[in-house]
Symmetry: C2
Subunit: 211 residues, 2 copies
């Protein structure tokens, strides 16, 4: 028997983009092939070793057997999808594919806003911008309302990349933005998120703050 | 003859993400089906009308005939690809697909950094963060070096979404970051970019600052 080739992942338990990839790997049955290397990015110090593989210096970055780095998180999930198409991480074609990708873009866009917001909170108080925080808060609120409106359809669609991105985004709100409750008035979305939280792939990869 | 259905695009001549989409539409022969609506985002004022279609409040956002909004720019290009698969905007499968998507992620990641940088320059001087600007400058420099290393391969690969993202990112450096020259020492990348600049789709959609 040939030993399955290994995948090296620049990883952190705090990164929601890494979490998306780990949940996707679990769903596709690929988790056992991944070796994780703890990589600490963030703040304003460039990570020169990571930037040799990914000049953007971002997590996650995957190194497949041929050594050619793959990023960002979406492209890594596309790669998993080529290895295990039967897992259905991304619908192959048609309107279902576009809906799934649009949902992924929405979940990922929420994460992008939250990470900017978090970065802003990490600045010295006198260099923080209240107008930006107000803008981000209003966008997150609009996203939650939009998700509530499609929560029933989300629940009725085969699980895949869109669900992963949206669930990880809501989980990140709980993880880092406890002062910004999103559930009030959004019963259907909250119910869908409860079911997301019970999936084995999600349970196996919680966000962890080990700092 | 049935009139071809129209596509409505939230558009701006200044947005590099919109420019990616317009170049892709041109390459796919879809440009004539698109009606553009000038949408001004940026700064810290939420665009409530746009946010009804895309709660992230970002450009580009496409409204196809069925009225269900499609975003972000990558997903719009995926949609174009389903309408005109023969245009080859995205390789259908295999390693070529992953390489093209990784190149798209690199070009788009450069744009994300440049837009953050630009936003920082737009803040009051006392709320700007020099360490962030230094980080972004170092990342852009690393990206240019990485692109130079694969410039010959880029030139040898059938034109598609990866080329569009990278070309638009380099064009945005020229457009908004004239004080940050990227060509010195990067002859192969500069040569490839010259050929990109001569494509009819690129010539037809220059970045324009009409403010």
């Amino acid at each position: 028997m040939i030993r399955e080739s290994r995948l090296l992942l620049h990883w952190s338990p705090r990164s929601p983009y890494v979490r998306k990839v780990m949940i996707a790997a679990h769903e596709a049955g690929l988790e056992d092939r991944i070796d994780t290397v703890r990589t600490v990015v963030g703040g304003t110090t460039p990570h020169l070793e990571l930037m040799e593989d990914n000049p953007l210096g971002k997590l996650p970055t995957l190194i497949p057997p041929d050594g050619t780095a793959i990023y960002d998180s979406y492209v890594i999930v596309e790669y998993f999808n080529t290895l295990k198409p039967a897992a259905g991480l991304i619908p192959r074609e048609g309107p279902a594919r576009i809906v799934a990708l649009r949902r992924h873009a929405l979940g990922n866009g929420i994460l992008d806003i939250l990470l900017q917001w978090l970065g802003e909170r990490g600045r010295p108080a006198e260099r923080q911008s209240e107008p930006h925080i107000a803008l981000w808060r209003s966008k997150i609120a609009a996203c939650i309302v939009a998700l509530e409106a499609e929560a029933d359809d989300l629940a009725a669609t085969p699980f895949g990349i869109g669900h992963i991105a949206i669930g990880v985004a809501l989980g990140y709100l709980d993880f880092r933005f406890k002062a910004e409750p999103w559930r009030p008035g959004q019963e259907r979305l909250a119910a869908w998120f409860e079911s997301f939280q019970r999936r084995p792939s999600v349970v196996a990869h919680p966000p962890v703050d080990d700092s």
